[in-house]
């Protein structure tokens, strides 16, 4: 049961449909995610992002269409898909009664890995949770809990990771920490599918952005491609006021640098009007 054969895209979705009772949520979704890249699935609340993630992570059956993850069909080989993926759901799925360390050991044991204790220590260190490692997860802040949640998802190095709204409900610093983690993941060759309703999150992180609207993908491209869909940017001169986020992060210090480190081209002094 090896899970590392990767022919073509890491995720291939074709014509996926899903209705709940009479309410169609997905009406034929198609997209690919190439191995080692980050795709942001953008959509408003209720657009069907979570439904799609649940189908791809074998928690839900599609009514029609096919989806392959890491080369395995989600309907025909759910076991192999589960070997290949890791899901970080919308709500931090940690055991609050257990300590952070015990949570990690638990998942390592369930993945039947050698030396769960060493894996736990390593991840605690990577996610700056070593000090909190022996405290119950119930005492963690939202950001720490999310970090623990994501670190649990990394155990066993699954080639594909689903992150469903990974930063919803986090404060700005915690968000930046999570972003940093996601970038490191992709840099290490993991394929990431993340859903978000924050446009800046997609802009910051994603190699490609797919917009899910009324049950279908209405656009799918790189940020530059999506921007090219609109008339070329006009150049206007606007006084550049710091955003409240920038003010907040500067005032509270430390992790602020990571915040504004832009990916790709820098914005000109004049603000682009979209």
């Amino acid at each position: 049961m090896t899970a590392n054969q990767v022919p073509e895209p890491a995720i291939r979705v074709r014509g996926i449909e899903k209705s709940f009772k009479d309410l169609p949520v997905l009406r034929g979704v198609d997209f690919d995610v190439s191995a080692g890249s980050i795709l942001a699935l953008l959509g408003s609340n209720g657009a069907g992002k979570t439904t799609l993630v649940r189908i791809l992570s074998t928690l839900l059956k599609a009514d029609a269409g096919t989806a392959r993850v890491n080369g395995f069909d989600v309907a025909e080989a759910p076991g192999e898909v589960r070997e290949s993926i890791s899901l970080t759901g919308q709500f931090a799925a940690v055991d609050e009664v257990l300590t952070g360390r015990e949570n990690l050991v638990l998942i390592a044991q369930l993945r039947h890995l050698q030396d769960p204790a060493a894996i736990a220590d390593d991840l605690l260190a990577r996610f700056s949770l070593t000090e909190a490692g022996n405290r119950r997860a119930a005492t963690y802040s939202g950001g720490m809990r999310r970090r623990l949640d994501i670190s649990m998802s990394l155990i066993g190095n699954p080639p594909v990771i689903f992150l469903d709204e990974p930063t919803t409900g986090l404060d700005p610093q915690a968000r930046i920490e999570v972003w940093q983690t996601i970038r490191e993941l992709a840099a290490g060759g993991t394929t990431v599918l993340l859903t978000t309703q924050y446009l800046d999150e997609a802009e910051q992180l994603a190699d490609r952005i797919a917009i899910l609207h009324e049950g279908t993908i209405i656009q799918n491209g790189t940020l530059a491609e999506l921007k090219a869909l609109l008339p070329p940017a006009r150049v206007e001169y606007v006084e550049k006021q710091p955003s409240l986020e920038e003010v907040f992060l500067t005032l509270v210090g430390d992790t602020a640098e990571a915040a504004t480190a832009p990916r790709g081209g820098t914005a000109p002094a004049g603000k682009e009007i979209r």
Binding site: E83, L87, A93, E96, L106, L110
Partner: protein, 254 residues
């Protein structure tokens, strides 16, 4: 993947047992009500109750109290299962390559352990209150077997409740009728003193046959046909509850 069923169940059972260790109050809370009932019945009502059995009242009512202990203990199983599903950890397990049934069995084994601990606490109090038995090791084993079967049957009912509940309160509400059932049985007073229809119900509901069997075993008397009626009830409830719970679980995790 099936080769991992035992290992996965073991790991997950360890997890939920840890929950109990971290909040041992659930064991105590489970034991408090039955102990209070026992004190009330033995020291307040007991003097006026003529069981016609010639044994001390604490000996007479202990089997019923043990069943009440278990009936209130399984509510925690429904509660813990419900919390798992709410918290998202359930989905995490379902999206991992672990044996599907392990998640439920872990809760069932945990329920068994927790309830047997509560039963031990109640037995300890009963001994202090003068409960005595000349039961042979074989009879003790039979009592333990019946209590284990009773716990398993009620636990699978608790699993159904936990899987289908919409709220935390809903998850444990199913146990109230179960706790009440021993009162309309031979657990506290002989059924002969009850008016016709009530006596009929009491004689034909499962608790009476179970209580009569356990009481006879503790007293070192022959159990007669009661044990077969009790076993039929227990196995029947167990199989049906198990079937319904598994069907519900399948629908939940596709």
């Amino acid at each position: 993947m099936t080769t991992h069923v035992l290992a996965d169940t073991g790991v997950l059972t360890g997890r939920s047992l840890r929950h109990i260790l971290r909040s041992p109050d659930t064991i105590i809370t489970t034991a408090v009500t039955p102990v209070a009932l026992m004190l009330l019945f033995v020291y307040v009502f007991g003097g006026a109750i003529d069981t016609g059995s010639g044994q001390s009242y604490v000996n007479y009512m202990l089997p019923g109290i043990l069943l009440i202990t278990i009936a209130s203990g399984v509510a925690y199983t429904a509660y813990r299962l419900f919390l798992d599903m709410q918290g998202g950890i359930f989905e995490r397990f379902a999206s991992m390559p672990i044996a599907r049934s392990s998640v439920l069995w872990a809760h069932v084994f945990t329920s068994l352990t927790a309830n047997l601990l509560s039963v031990a606490v109640v037995l300890g109090v009963a001994l202090a209150m003068g409960f005595r038995t000349g039961a042979s090791p074989g009879a003790w084993l039979a009592v333990a077997g019946i209590l284990v079967l009773f716990t398993l049957s009620l636990t699978w009912i608790a699993v159904i409740a936990g899987l289908s509940a919409k709220t935390v309160d809903g998850a444990s509400a199913f146990s109230y009728p179960l706790i009440f059932l021993p009162f309309i049985s031979s657990a506290f007073v002989p059924t002969g003193s009850m008016p016709g229809p009530v006596a009929w119900f009491a004689e034909n509901q499962p608790v009476t046959s179970i209580v009569d069997t356990v009481r006879a075993l503790f007293a070192g008397e022959p159990v007669g046909g009661d044990i077969w009626v009790a076993l039929a009830w227990l196995l029947g409830i167990l199989l049906i509850a198990y079937g319904v719970a598994i069907a519900k679980y399948r629908r939940k995790i596709r």
